[in-house]
């Protein structure tokens, strides 16, 4: 049996519509409108953390490893290989970063983390491509193997290291951070005025220009680079064709195995990088520190419809709500109001496009959130942390689902089977 496909019931749920892709202006307009609503909520609730530079910075830090994991998933799935072993490969990356990082600096850590990720990717490639093993099984095995191996090695190498321990590496130096001089201060001044919209915009901009880790910039470059490479280059076309129609690719002389190997190895590299980024920005390797981020990354990839921009959005949304819930509960309380308003907006648009049941559903939850907001002073602290998960689910539920996974992702492929 193969569980690789794992898409039962999806194609009947909502038939994909292929509309025109929205122009950048539409997106920009949408972003401004969203910011205006957030700003309005910020003004009424006084929860400045909704759009503060600190939240944006923390969101970026949280989003980067997720985005890397999602990117790793993207590479593999675009070539037709489902990689649920992301979590394991990330763990290898964190260990690698710890091992090399404390000895030779953060960059060595990044490189070695990437390298160990590649090892994990290769293992997955051998199992899935050469041996045709079910992709899920191989991924689960890697998720079992990697944490065990990392802890095993950690005990071996870190126990005696100065400042290290059986379960953590000695400290790793941080990667350099950059700030846009002048601009950030100017934005800070505007942000502190708490003007409607302007201050919020300034807060976001300041967050994006202050103390940005070079690793974050590298991650952004990798996301953009991936988009370019996969959709604009010959290499990318060939790689994607392996996930869409490997038989066709093979019949045109594309070496499908080679591209699958490359893609899965790259996937391992990105996952390892995600782990390494995480360890370096945390200042050390600690056993178990990934805490399921590989799975969240996978979710971000699906959320993002197997596209770089989409997965960045997914990771960003998750990072934003996660940062908010970790930074304080005020903002999460304000989030209730924001969600309420957003749901009512969705209800109206859905009603106008004829989806009355969905509209009613959205309106009901929206009212519920609104009521919760007005009836309480805070979200119970035990529940605050659930915000990123609930928000992700809600967004997925209400956004129209037009998922287009690579057609043959998860299907085993054997050379010479085409025709």
């Amino acid at each position: 049996m193969t569980v690789g496909g794992l898409s039962v019931g999806l194609d009947t749920a909502a038939a994909p519509k292929r509309g025109k892709r929205a122009s950048p202006w539409t997106y920009a307009l949408f972003a401004v409108a969203a910011l205006a609503v957030i700003s309005l909520v910020r003004v009424t609730t006084g929860a400045t953390d909704l759009t503060s530079a600190g939240t944006v910075q923390a969101a970026l830090t949280a989003a980067v490893p997720l985005a890397m994991a999602a990117l790793a998933g993207l590479w593999a799935e675009r070539a037709g290989v489902v990689n649920i072993g992301l979590e394991g490969m990330m763990v290898l990356g964190t260990f690698g970063a710890g091992y090399a990082g404390y000895q030779w600096g953060p960059w060595a850590g990044v490189v070695f983390g990437l390298f160990l990720g590649v090892v994990g990717g290769l293992l997955h490639a051998v199992a899935t491509v050469t041996f045709g093993v079910d992709h899920i099984i191989s991924g689960v095995a890697i998720n079992l193997l990697a944490p065990g191996a990392a802890l095993f090695m950690s005990k071996l190498y870190f126990t005696d290291a100065p400042g290290g321990g059986a379960r953590q590496s000695p400290p790793i130096g941080d990667a350099p951070k950059v700030t846009v001089p002048g601009f950030a201060d100017l934005m800070g001044t505007i942000e502190d005025k708490h003007w409607f919209l302007l201050s919020d915009l300034a807060g976001v901009l300041r967050g994006l220009t202050t103390q940005i880790s070079v690793l974050t910039l590298l991650a952004a470059a990798l996301i953009i680079g991936t988009g370019w490479l996969l959709w604009r280059s010959a290499f990318g076309l060939r790689l994607r064709s392996c996930g869409e129609a490997p038989a066709a690719a093979e019949s045109l002389g594309v070496n499908v195995y080679k591209y699958k190997y490359l893609a899965v190895t790259a996937s391992g590299a990105f996952a390892g990088l995600g782990g390494a980024f995480f360890a370096v920005s945390s200042g050390q390797f600690r056993e178990g520190q990934t805490g399921g981020r590989g799975f969240i990354g996978l979710a971000a990839m699906i959320f993002g419809n197997w596209r770089p921009g989409g997965l960045a959005t997914g990771a960003g949304l998750f990072g934003y709500t996660d940062a908010m819930s970790l930074r304080g509960s005020d903002a999460v309380h304000a989030l209730l109001l924001l969600l309420g308003i957003a749901l009512l907006v969705v209800a109206v648009t859905q009603y106008r496009s004829g989806h009355h049941v969905l509209s009613g559903f959205a309106a009901a939850i929206g009212v519920l959130f609104g009521w919760w907001f007005f009836a309480s002073d805070e979200v119970p602290p035990e529940l605050v942390g659930a915000a990123p998960y609930v928000v992700t689910l809600l967004v997925l539920t209400l956004a129209a689902q037009r998922l287009r996974p690579p057609k043959l992702a998860g299907e085993p492929y054997r050379r010479g089977q085409s025709g």
């Binding site: 600190g54 005990k155 321990g165 379960r167 400290p171 200042g283 602290p381």
Partner: protein, 335 residues
């Protein structure tokens, strides 16, 4: 041999009889999740064990726990120690409460100790010593320090995982802060909820939470979050704010060397002392079953002064300390 530092987890390396000490005392120690080398709670217990070992020359066996395991596996661990002839057994952490109760009943000749738990009828018996700590008292003192050091009247508390044990730290800390400045703000954040125990292991989360507190006006944050505290100190340093350590004198922890100048004090929980005391009590025949509370008075809880950042307010803190010791101030351990 019995060197100063014992790095190997199973010190006997599979040959438990080698180097059996003349004293004949065989000590088994079962760690909580994290085990030796966690630079926190377990390590503290290990230090006590090491000290006893160098002084008394003991035969030692250390075993550790796995995340997500069941009570039966904990029980099995203790029984394996007993079966291996380890007649003195220390269980580190409240998770062993049920298990130790059962094993102790079956092995009356073995002396047991459990750290951090004293549940009536569960882990009590004629051969169990319950070594518990008044974390709230130490936390009260660092709360006092935080309030005195804070210029903004706004301080923070970062707890690793939201469990009753860590809540004790929070409650004591808040009480200490309020004792100095009744109108001070205490921001509280737990990094994860059980059974997600990664909150003790996630410096990134610690950093985000602390940064949020600093942004919201705090200038001192108490990190009762195990390894996640590293992130708290890191961001304290980056923002020129202060942090307070936990469990041991974190100022002197090698792993924190780079950020130690922001650690103004630490709440010290002398698990090592408790372990050492227990072992020596067994050795010299003065073992006593039942609860032994390590509090300020008993010297099992204290605050650290390394680095000299609180020299200016030490007198004030010691005043409170004296009041707690004398019983004039009673620090609650629950909200």
């Amino acid at each position: 041999g019995c060197g100063a530092k014992n790095n190997d987890t199973g010190s006997g390396g599979g040959t438990p009889t080698s180097g059996a000490p003349a004293a004949g005392l065989k000590i088994g120690l079962a760690y909580d999740i994290g085990g030796r080398g966690d630079q926190s709670f377990n390590d503290s217990a290990a230090r006590g064990l090491d000290k006893a070992k160098t002084e008394f020359g003991l035969d030692v066996k250390e075993l550790e726990a796995t995340a997500g395991e069941t009570e039966a596996q904990k029980e099995d661990r203790l029984r394996q120690l007993v079966e291996g002839g380890y007649t003195t057994v220390v269980a580190v952490g409240f998770a062993y409460a049920e298990a130790i109760g059962k094993v102790a009943k079956d092995s009356p000749e073995v002396k047991f100790a459990i750290i951090d738990d004293f549940t009536d009828g569960v882990d009590t018996g004629a051969n169990i010593a319950n070594l518990t700590f008044a974390e709230q008292e130490g936390s009260f003192l660092v709360g006092v320090a935080a309030a005195l050091k804070s210029k903004t009247g706004n301080v923070g508390f970062v707890g690793g995982v939201n469990t009753p044990l860590i809540q004790k730290f929070e409650v004591g800390y808040t009480a200490g802060v309020k004792a100095v400045k009744a109108d001070a703000t205490v921001q509280v954040k737990y990094l994860t909820q059980p059974p997600d125990f990664t909150g003790f292991n996630d410096p990134a989360k610690g950093e985000t939470a602390a940064k949020g507190m600093f942004d919201a006006g705090a200038d001192v944050v108490y990190a009762a979050a195990g390894g996640s505290g590293n992130g708290v100190f890191k961001t304290a340093k980056a923002n020129s704010k202060w942090g307070i350590g936990v469990d041991s004198d974190q100022y002197n922890q090698p792993a924190l060397a780079e950020v130690k100048d922001v650690i103004i004090t630490s709440m010290i929980k002398e698990v090592d002392v408790a372990v050492y005391d227990f072992i020596s009590s067994v050795k010299n025949g003065s073992f006593k079953a039942g609860q032994k509370v390590y509090d300020l008075k008993a010297g099992g809880i204290d605050y650290a002064t390394s680095g000299g950042k609180i020299d200016d307010i030490k007198a004030k803190i010691d005043e409170y300390k004296a009041k707690i010791v004398s019983g004039e101030i009673k620090v609650a351990d629950k909200k």
